[in-house]
Structure formats: C-alpha cells, structure tokens
C-alpha cells in the first residue's frame, strides 16, 4: 500500500556548479483499487515513513483500521488506509495531500509529526475541504490558525499536544522530579531551531523559573548540526543542574555524543526520537538515563487501552511505537467514531462530529478545544484528559517515572552523570 512520490533533491545543495538532476527513485508499489468509495471510509496517511518518530504513524493507523474492520467496520463500512511516504518534506506532503484527495478520493487525512509539514498542509485541508488530523506536530500556530479563521481552517484538527502544553507537561514533571526530589536549581534550555520549538521555548522560559529552576543559558542550534561537542562544552561552562531539551529532528547524535563525551549533566524534556523503542539500538544504548516526555509508553497503563496497543504493535512490527504511533492509532478510532455518529463521510458533518469527540484512547481522554478557545481543535490538556508522562531509558527499556500513579521506578542515571543530590 505504499506509494512513493518524487524524491527531493536536497542531497547536493552545497555543491555549486554541478548540474542539478532530479530523478524519481521511488520504490513504488501501486495499491490495488479496493471497494467502492461509498461503502468505505478512506483515510490517507501521509508520514515520515523513514524517520524514527514518523515510522510508527502509518503502522499504527493500519493496525487500528484492521482491528475495526475485523469487528465489522463502522456499521458495516470498512476502513481503507492509503499511505504516502513524504520523505520528511513539505513539498512532497502537499503533493501527496492533493493526490490523496483528488485521485485516491480519501475522506480524511492523518499526516506528519513535523510542524512545518502540517502548517503547509493546513491551507490545503481548507482549499480541498478535507478533514485533516496531525498525530505528532506541536506548533501552537496549527490550532491558532483554526481559531483565527474558523470557517476556512475548521478542517484541521491538532491530535497532539501544542508546544505550550508540552512545555507545561515538562515543567510539571520537572517540579516533582528535579526540584522537589533532587533539589536542582538551574537549567539550560537546549532546543533545535524549528517551528515547534519557538512556542516551546517561550513556554519553558516562562514556566521553569516558576517551578524554581533558573534558566542560566538558552541554546538554539541548527537541526543540521552533527558535532555537538561545542554545544555541550558551552552548556557545561554555565554549570547548570539539568539540560532541558526540545529535540525532534535530531536525537541520536546529541545523545550518543553526550554519552561518549560523558557530559555530567542529565537531559530532561522533549526528545521525540527517544519515544520510539528503536532509539535504544540506534544509539547503541547511549540513551541510558535520558528523560523524555511522552503521551504514553510501553507498560504504562495510561488507560486500559494503552498496554494492549503497545504490546500488539510490538508483536506486529517488532518494536514499541513512537509517541506518534499512539496518537495515530487513537485518531483512526475517533475518526471512525465521528463517522459513526455523523452517519456520513461528508466533510462538514465529519468536522462537526469530530468537534464533539470524547474518546478514551491510548493517551488519555481525547476532547478538542472549541471555537472560542485560543487553541481551537487542539486536544485538551489537563487532569482527567491528557497530562503526559515522563519516561526514562533504564537498562535499555523505556520506564515511566512520572506521574507517580503510573511510575514504575525512581530516577536512575549512568555513572558519569553528577546529580545534585539531597
């Protein structure tokens, strides 16, 4: 079911003077044309199939669809998933979106964990009047645009926490784990330069001092960075107790270099790649001790659905899903639920039904903020809804350490880390 679109010609951008040639190199397999559109719900899934965080998106969506179909579909209506690999490119995603709607006639689209991609797709959801949910992008701008021009942008739903909410979740966890338990006082924010980290950093700057962590430095770096030595060097120079991270496009390299250089400061925050179980292998277990925010995780019963999903996913695909796998799985379910309630796959009726979503998924209870909230169509953050978790890589496994209702272990660090103890 995989369709490949044109490969972006990014490889040789530094090479002036060489003739630019682009070649579609897709390993294409054309999907069989299935049942009639009238009795199926066609969901287009556009994702970064080759990236750690994105790979789980189409897998989890397919799994949810198979489960629903096995139980007879939505009142007899089958779900068909059509996947597109966007090669982490906005241009490829827009082409995929157009193709999904115009040629493959999908009714709704689930797409991407990258904010830049989602922001590029949002106007297309409006133009093509196609409901669209993102399982993993975080930028505040996604739902702010829905609020600013509701009639036009109402087709977009933000199925993951906004950067503002992510910052809050990290601060809530840091208060208990780092300030109360470990008596930490200072932090350096280390984030990649991308659309989603701008509001995240604003959130960090605001909430960290409030919980008692003084921000002594703030480093933003290019997502192309390969050598993190100078960055860690600069961070160490300002002697913080903890590094608060905002990384998603990068992950393996800073983590491995952090370990190889034995940077004695723990890392805590958002690290999207660390949410996928494959991260342990990708870093040769350098991930040991890394703390990351998640919406769910292996062996964490956020809801009764979380653990069975994670286990079945692992059984089918060989690894536990990334954070965007959980959200993508839930999305197929609550889209199906909305279609069931609307009794139709008409776009406007689906939007109306999606707005009334109240679905207990794998990440908590999903409801969307309304038209009058500043983050219209973003999932609600808070107790009883979705709060997020803090997990840590311990002995090669992802272990929940916060909140205490689901915590399985205390904080544990490799020997090179100096934690300011009690």
């Amino acid at each position: 079911m995989k369709r490949s679109s044109r490969v972006p010609f990014h490889a040789m951008q530094h090479l002036a003077g060489v003739a630019a040639l682009a070649l579609p190199l897709g390993l294409a397999a054309v999907a069989p044309t299935g049942a009639l559109a009238a009795d199926t719900l066609k969901i287009g899934v556009i994702a970064e199939a080759q990236a750690i965080a994105g790979a789980s998106i189409p897998q989890a969506a397919q799994m949810a669809a198979d489960e629903i179909n096995a139980k007879g579909g939505i009142d007899g209506r089958k779900i068909e998933i059509v996947s597109y690999d966007n090669h982490s490119s906005s241009a490829d995603s827009v082409r995929a979106f157009q193709r999904a709607v115009n040629e493959d006639k999908v009714n709704v689209v689930i797409a991407s964990y990258i904010s830049e991609v989602v922001l590029a797709l949002e106007p297309w959801a409006a133009r093509l009047k196609t409901p669209f949910v993102t399982p993993g992008a975080a930028s505040n701008e996604i739902s702010k645009s829905v609020h600013a021009d509701y009639d036009k942008n109402k087709y977009t739903f933000h199925g993951y926490l906004t950067s503002a909410a992510l910052a809050l979740s990290v601060c809530d966890a840091a208060k208990e784990l780092l300030v109360d338990q470990k008596h930490m006082k200072t932090a350096v924010i280390m984030s990649e330069d991308a659309a989603w980290t701008k509001p995240l950093d604003v959130g960090y700057e605001e909430c960290l001092p409030k919980i008692g962590l003084k921000v002594v430095d703030h480093i933003r770096f290019s997502p192309d960075t390969t050598d993190f030595t100078p960055i860690f060097n600069k961070i160490e120079g300002s002697k913080p107790d903890v590094i608060i991270t905002g990384i998603s496009h990068v992950g393996v390299q800073p983590t491995v270099q952090w370990k190889n250089q034995q940077v004695p400061i723990p890392m805590f925050g958002i690290s999207s790649q660390a949410t996928n179980e494959t991260f342990g292998k990708d870093t040769n277990d350098a991930a040991e001790g890394v703390l990351y925010q998640g919406v769910s995780g292996p062996n964490v019963a956020v809801t009764p659905k979380s653990v069975p999903f994670a286990e079945n996913f692992k059984k089918r695909f060989g690894n536990y899903p990334s954070y965007a796998g959980y959200t993508s799985y839930d999305e197929v379910y609550y889209i199906a639920d909305a279609v069931k309630r609307a009794g139709s796959v008409d776009a406007d009726k689906m939007v109306e039904a999606l707005e009334k979503t109240d679905w207990e998924g794998t990440i908590g209870r999903v409801q969307f903020y309304g038209k009058d909230d500043p983050f219209t169509h973003s999932i609600k953050y808070g107790k009883g809804l979705i709060t997020g978790l803090m997990l840590q890589w311990q002995s090669g496994k992802q272990v929940a350490v916060w909140p205490k209702e689901v915590a399985k272990s205390e904080l544990k660090f490799p020997s090179f880390i100096k934690v300011t103890a009690n």
Binding site: A11, Q13, L25, D193
Partner: protein
C-alpha cells in the same frame, strides 16, 4: 583552556577530513574521475558497521571490518558498474565523458542514499566506539575514541604515503597520475592500476566512514554534505594533489571548529565555504594545484 579544547577537537575532525579527502583526490589524480558518490560510500560503510553490531550482533572490531569491506565492495561496484562503462563507451564522445562520470556517480550516490534510507531509515546511526571512556588532557575531557580516531587517520595516511612512494605498485600509481600514456608505453596496464587505486580508495573511504560513524554519527542525509566537504577540501588543496588535500583538510577542520566554538555551531561550515570562494578567485588551481 578553550584554545586547547579547539586544538584537540579540531585535530580529530581535520584528520578525519584528511582521510576522507585523500582517496577522493587520489582517484582524480590518477584517472581524472570526480567520484560524486563519495559521501554515499562513506555512509554505507558506517551504516554497515552499525548494522553489524545492532542487527547481526557482531563485536565492534568485526563490525568495523565489515564496514570497510562494504565500502570496498561499493567502491568496486562504482568503478565497474558506473565509471568503467562510461570510460569505455564508444558512443559517448571523449570530451563529454567527464561530465557523464560526474552525473553517473552523482545518481549512483543518490541511489545508495535512498536504499539506505529505505532499509535503515533516514535517522542518524552511530557506530559503537572501539575504545570507550574519556581521558583528561590538561583539564579537557576528551573521549578516548577521539584520540583513537586521530591516531588511526594519521597511521593510515602514513601507510598510504609509504605505499605510494616506496612500493612498486605505488610508483606505478604515481606514474599513472603524471603521465598515463607513458605508463602504458612502459608495458603497464592502465586498467590494473585503476583497479588498485579504486581498492585503495574504497579502504580509505571505508575507514573514514566507520570512524565518522563512531565520532559523530551519520545518516542518509549526510551523503550530500560529506561529498560536498570532500569536494571543497580537494578543490581548496588543488585537484589531484594529495598533500594539498591534507593541508586543506586541516585548514577546513580548524576553521570549522574555531567558528563552532567562538561564533556559533550554527555557522560552522560558512567560513570554510567563503574561503573556498576566495581561493577560487585568486588561485583557481587551489593551494598546491599543478595547473
């Protein structure tokens, strides 16, 4: 303190650049081929070494050896499947062969890149270091692996120097780079010399790739930047001049490191590229070019 840090980090990265660029320039010097799949071959080596450890569960040494072996195989494939057919073709006019080789190797590189992304994802992979831990050098905490990288690079470059200047095969290679027709008149077969050079190249690129995988990590996205960096180092040093490339590698390595530490890691590559532009204006043949 920071000066020492720059000195140490800069040396390791420069030595690695030097190793990567040496093979690249050697091939150009001997056979006039600009191999734009260079970055892809380095990445293939690093990914193979990673896969050996993570997928096949081999130990670090075997993994590193497998990485180098894969680079050797891919280098031969590049020569026999892409470069040689173009060079031997009767349908491509001689004056256009260079551009055909450029395009051919470029596309070959993109194919390797996409295959790696398809099978191993486009996320960064890192190779488990052969030596772990850190040592304190006058207050600078240096990973042992960084020192190991620098030593291996210097050793390999030293061995290459001995091979080229002190052995019969090496002398034939050197002669071929100076006067290919003269070599054939002496009864040496040029094709055999090319095979030797591609073998040397494959091993050098493989070692550089595996070491880079241990030092910083690589992903399929590294293919373009790695080719570009080898290309700029070689142009800066003078196309085909091995010693020029060595000097240029250290100039670029230190310029990048100084920029990363004193200005910002985000601007790391910019001064080196500006220098390249300046050199192109005032000394187009490069630092030690022969033209």
């Amino acid at each position: 303190m920071q000066a020492l840090q720059i000195l140490i980090d800069g040396f390791a990265i420069s030595a690695l650049y030097a190793l990567g660029a040496t093979g690249f320039t050697l091939i150009f010097g001997v056979s006039g081929v600009l191999n734009l799949s260079h970055g892809a071959i380095m990445v293939a080596a690093a990914v193979a070494a990673w896969a050996a450890a993570s997928v096949l569960h081999l130990d670090t040494y075997s993994g590193a050896l497998l990485g180098v072996a894969v680079a050797l195989v891919v280098a031969f494939a590049t020569y026999f499947a892409v470069v040689k057919p173009i060079q031997n073709s009767r349908r491509i006019p001689n004056e256009e062969k260079e551009i055909f080789v450029l395009t051919g190797t470029l596309l070959w590189g993109i194919m390797i890149q996409e295959l790696i992304a398809y099978f191993f994802t486009n996320n960064a992979k890192t190779v488990l270091p052969i030596v772990e831990g850190v040592v304190d050098i006058f207050g600078v905490r240096t990973p042992r692996n960084e020192i190991f990288t620098a030593i291996v690079c210097c050793l390999v470059i030293g061995l290459l120097w001995i091979l080229v200047n002190r052995t019969r095969t090496g002398k034939a290679v050197l002669a071929a780079s100076m006067n290919p027709r003269g070599v054939t008149l002496l009864g040496l077969e040029l094709t055999r010399i090319y095979v030797v050079v591609w073998a040397i190249y494959g091993i050098l690129a493989g070692i550089a790739g595996v070491l880079l995988g241990m030092f910083l990590g690589v992903s399929s996205y590294s293919v373009g930047p790695l080719t570009a960096s080898a290309f700029s180092i070689v142009v800066l040093g003078g196309l085909g001049s091995v010693s020029g490339s060595l000097i240029a590698a250290f100039v670029v390595g230190y310029l990048e490191t100084v920029t990363a530490y004193l200005v910002s890691p985000a601007y790391r590559t910019i001064p080196a590229l500006l220098l390249l532009v300046v050199v192109m204006y005032i000394r187009p043949q490069g630092l030690l070019g022969r033209r």
